[in-house]
């Protein structure tokens, strides 16, 4: 990321992240890189969104800033001071709320004050005020399990705000809520922010929802996956409250999609505009029924084989975590092409979707063998083996050279599912054996 957008106000940054790398140890020797050379700054009065697919390391970055995770290299600074552990002044809201189920709403909100050693009466007073502010009065004595998801996240907000933080970090704060509840909570949060009721000087949040980022943030930082790095950033200058039907807002969303789907020149390995992948590639988690459904939508007469990605997301009601794995698999299999925020069906894709069930399997088999090296490798190994059998562990340990244990097993089971659909090989779950024979 060279072209950081320079801020208009030249104050010292609230948060500055310098050359941060993070890798996790796996096994004794190997390391898995999840964040690569992250640099960014956040200034007074900003709401910043970090947008990326799941597994792109964005939550890890948030935790590095929070002091919960130590970077492998580089440093995060809070108001010029390096962060080595949770800092007083930074507060956090969690994706799954992280409330203590055995404490009442009031006790949960008091938790942070308790840790600071504030005496009982002041604690109570401040907690009640925070509960009031966030719109929870009447629920002080309730236990979290009595509350709906939205109310629970309000408790999360009250708990985070009661300690008068300087900066609020939010880790996918709305993703566990339904759409209406989330919208309601977002607008309340913006209200609090704009009326300056909280004493907050900045909000940094992580999301995989493009609309959410565009709705709340002044600046969106778009993340790459594998390893996580900053792909680019966008400023959103529309005034609050933003209307998601506003054409200018739709335009912003289009820009984000374009930024996310345009291959930077640096990323090589492109052939005829299609992605070429290797054995250890992190295959997307997508199943055949889903990509068939997407192709059918693309191929529908009204779409004529080409669609805008935001439209696809809207029509099929998918968020980017669900949509991008599908488009990625379509690209890998050469069934569709994605560029500049558009997706276009290829001839092969058209042939696949128009075929009948058995014919589809044949086309899928052909493309699977041709374009997915892992599937081809498994097939070759099985062909070579005298009894056409192999243990699943062999492939797993091969994949673990490139990936985490969890990711390796996810990818292997994904490829096994495709292989079974294509009848490329058979699989015995109990024995953990792959083979070429059909069950008798």
């Amino acid at each position: 990321m060279q072209d950081l957008i320079q801020p208009v106000i030249a104050t010292s940054p609230l948060i500055e992240v310098v050359n941060v790398h993070k890798s996790f140890k796996k096994g004794d020797r190997q390391e898995l890189l999840v964040l690569e050379d992250i640099n960014f700054r956040m200034y007074e009065g900003e709401i910043v969104a970090i947008l990326g697919k799941s597994g792109s390391g964005k939550s890890t970055l948030l935790r590095i800033i929070a002091g919960l995770v130590q970077p492998s290299a580089g440093t995060a600074f809070y108001r010029g001071q390096p962060v080595f552990g949770p800092v007083r002044g930074i507060s956090m809201v969690f994706q799954t709320f992280a409330l203590l189920p055995w404490l009442t709403v009031l006790q949960n909100v008091e938790l942070g004050l308790e840790a600071l050693g504030i005496d009982r009466n002041e604690r109570r007073e401040r907690a009640l005020k925070a509960i009031d502010t966030i719109g929870l009065d009447g629920f002080e004595t309730a236990f979290p399990k009595e509350l709906s998801g939205g109310m629970r996240q309000r408790v999360g907000f009250a708990r985070a705000l009661v300690i008068n933080p300087d900066i609020l970090l939010m880790d996918e704060p709305f993703s566990a809520l339904d759409v209406l509840t989330a919208d309601n909570l977002k607008s309340d949060l913006l209200d609090l922010w704009q009326t300056q009721k909280t004493g907050l000087h900045g909000i940094l949040f992580v999301t995989h929802n493009i609309e959410e980022a565009a709705l709340l943030a002044d600046r969106i930082i778009v993340f790459n996956s594998n390893p996580g790095s900053i792909r680019g950033e966008l400023k959103v200058t529309l005034p609050h409250p933003r209307n998601d039907m506003d054409p200018r807002f739709r335009n912003q969303i289009d820009r984000v999609y374009t930024l996310m789907t345009t291959q930077p020149l640096a990323e090589s390995g492109m052939r005829e505009g299609h992605q070429v992948i290797d054995l250890g590639y992190r295959l997307p988690e997508a199943n055949v029924a889903e990509i068939t459904g997407l192709l059918e939508t693309l191929n529908a007469p009204e779409n004529n084989g080409k669609m805008d990605l935001p439209d696809v997301a809207d029509t099929l009601m998918l968020d980017i975590d669900e949509l991008f794995p599908l488009t990625e698999l379509l690209e890998i299999l050469h069934f569709a092409k994605v560029s500049k925020g558009d997706i276009t069906i290829t001839e092969a894709g058209k042939a696949f979707v128009e075929a009948d069930i058995l014919e589809r399997k044949k086309i899928f088999l052909l493309h699977l063998k041709k374009y997915v090296p892992l599937a081809r490798y498994i097939y070759d190994q099985l062909t070579r083996h005298p009894r056409h059998r192999a243990l699943e562990e062999n492939f797993l340990s091969l994949l673990e050279d490139y990936l985490t244990e969890k990711e390796a097993s996810r990818i292997l089971s994904t490829v096994i599912e495709w292989g079974r659909y294509a009848e490329l090989f058979a699989y015995d779950y109990n024995a953990g054996v792959l083979s070429l024979e059909n069950p008798n």
């Binding site: 800092v87 956090m92 055995w102």
Partner: protein
């Protein structure tokens, strides 16, 4: 019923293979047992017990005896809890401690509990010469060993499974380690810990009764309590006194169930970590409801909460603001590791030499062979018992479990019976054997599983009662015949529950063998051949080397059977037969 992990169960989630830490722990445990026995042998043999308190068979004394027995249980429970909080937490928070503590507890679980009594009683007597405090401590220690390992392993596992986000929230809001322990770790583990405690306590009645009256080196020590009362009743062949003792125990367990067990479990409901209020029936207790509705007690509970708050927020255990420098990597860390490893190697070689010296120089090989064959006889008994109990209780359990109205009645009764110390009932069986001149080696066997069989029953009932209704309807709809229905649906469905019950029952049977293979009634003494009888006989003689050999052999056999049979079955049941 998932909390129902009593002895032998808790370690099962770990890997299937023993790693070298297990072996080290096994060696050290065997070493310590032998060492204790060796020390005991060195001690002056005639103990100074001071004035023996005479036990009276007058039923008027029974309430007092019962109280003494209950007190012993509670003291042991307190120490088990302390042990759990310290060692389980330590293991959960520190990797180095974990590698030592967990295999140790795992091995200790397979040491026969009454074996601890034989080994330690002399030491305790030596600690408090001339008073009954020694045997008293030994009895309490035995109850402690029947509770602590199990509770610690369960607690360790739940503390480790605290959701990451909760821990992160604790960090983010600057809770100190002390505050985190009381605000997050303990409440999160509480429902499981309580269940474990209650179950261990149920099993504990058996051991408290057995440990109050101990014969060691031809000297009988009687501590005032129900156990001694019954021992005396057996010695004087007093049928009426036995009846009184059984009645008293019945009442004690009933009271304990209603006043302690149920209220605590109902109270623990609020600590269940599910975020959603579920429709499933919550545990209820009339006592808790009563408490909730009484104004004075509500006031009391507010005060208690206040005190707990103060306790959690003690000033000097509060977190300090993070200072702004990088946490330094200790230069000493490497030396400490090195020192640690050296120490460990020295210790292990010491133990090896000691064991080698004791076992191969003082004991002829034939003795070891003999003990081993006795162990196999006891193992055979255990296996036969499990098979027989399975054949009896599985069909009954399924029949009951599928009828929810029957299950509601049977379930608490089975749990109650599991808590009832079966050794109180031994005399009844012995009378029958003596009267009809039955084969001792065969008819003493059922005694071993008298108390533990109920675990199989109520686990199978639990499994059958949670069998999804739609699966049963599918079976009806497809018109599955009797055998097909059992083979394809019912047996696989209850398998995980059955395994849980069977493992618990087997553990109980091994433990019971020490008291069940030698039984008396008046002047009749029935001795079956087996490892349990061997340990009892040697204890009576005061031959500590052979006691240690017997206990060590039982420990090793139990471990082998666990690793070869029960653990793989348990893993299989988890992986394949768990209905979600």
């Amino acid at each position: 019923m998932n909390f129902l992990r009593t002895t032998f169960m808790s370690g099962y989630k770990s890997k299937a293979y023993p790693n070298y830490w297990d072996l080290i722990a096994l060696l050290l445990v065997l070493g310590v047992i032998t060492l204790l026995a060796w020390v005991a042998r060195q001690m002056a043999v005639p103990y100074q017990l001071g004035q023996a308190i005479s036990i009276s068979l007058d039923p008027n004394h029974l309430p007092g005896y019962a109280l003494r027995t209950v007190l012993r249980m509670l003291i042991a429970l307190f120490f088990s809890l302390l042990f759990t909080f310290i060692f389980a937490t330590w293991a959960a928070k520190s990797r180095r401690a974990e590698r030592i503590i967990i295999p140790f507890i795992d091995i200790l679980q397979s040491v026969p509990i009454l074996g601890f009594l034989s080994i330690t009683v002399v030491g305790f007597i030596g600690l408090f010469p001339g008073s009954l405090l020694g045997p008293e401590c030994a009895a309490i220690f035995v109850i402690f060993t029947s509770q602590a390992w199990n509770m610690a392993l369960g607690f360790y596992q739940t503390v480790r499974s605290v959701p990451t986000e909760l821990n992160e929230a604790g960090n983010m809001f600057h809770l100190s380690a002390w505050q985190r322990f009381w605000r997050i770790d303990v409440p999160f583990s509480l429902p499981g810990l309580l269940w474990n405690m209650m179950m261990s306590m149920s099993a504990g009645w058996f051991f408290v009764v057995a440990s109050e009256a101990i014969s060691v080196s031809n000297q009988q020590i009687l501590l005032p309590g129900i156990g001694s009362y019954i021992t005396l009743a057996i010695a004087s062949a007093d049928m009426r006194a036995i009846g009184y003792a059984i009645l008293t125990m019945f009442i004690v367990i009933l009271v304990y169930d209603q006043l302690l067990f149920r209220p605590l479990v109902a109270w623990a409901e609020k600590f269940k970590a599910e975020q959603v209020a579920e429709d499933t029936k919550e545990a209820r207790s009339w006592l808790i409801n009563l408490l909730h509705r009484t104004r004075f007690l509500r006031y009391l509970s507010t005060q208690l909460t206040y005190l707990f708050d103060l306790f959690v927020n003690i000033a000097f255990l509060r977190s300090k603001p993070i200072h702004s420098h990088r946490p330094r990597m200790s230069h000493y860390a490497r030396y400490i590791t090195w020192l640690w490893n050296t120490l460990l190697i020295c210790l292990i070689s010491g133990v090896l030499i000691f064991l080698y010296h004791i076992v191969f120089h003082s004991v002829p090989f034939a003795t070891i062979e003999h003990i081993f064959s006795l162990g196999l006889i006891t193992a055979l008994r255990v296996l036969v018992l499990v098979v027989v109990c399975t054949l009896i209780w599985v069909p009954i359990g399924v029949w009951v479990g599928l009828r929810s109205n029957v299950a509601h009645i049977v379930q608490p009764i089975a749990q109650f019976l599991a808590a009832f110390p079966a050794n109180l009932l031994y005399p009844l069986v012995v009378i029958l054997i003596v009267k009809y001149h039955l084969n001792i080696n065969i008819w003493v066997t059922p005694l071993m599983i008298l108390g533990a069989q109920w675990y199989i029953l109520f686990n199978v009932v639990a499994g059958a009662s949670v069998m999804p209704k739609d699966l049963l309807q599918v079976a009806d709809n497809l018109g599955l015949g009797f055998w097909l229905r059992w083979r394809r649906l019912i047996l696989p469905g209850i398998f995980p529950y059955y395994i849980t019950g069977a493992i618990t029952a087997v553990g109980g049977a091994w433990n019971a063998s020490i008291v069940a293979e030698v039984v008396t009634w008046g002047d009749h003494k029935l001795v079956a051949s087996g490892l349990g009888a061997y340990i009892t006989e040697q204890t009576l003689k005061g031959d500590f080397l052979h006691i240690a050999l017997g206990i060590g052999m039982m420990c090793v056999l139990v471990l082998i059977f666990n690793r070869l049979i029960w653990r793989p079955l348990y893993m299989l049941s988890r992986e394949r037969f768990t209905l979600d």
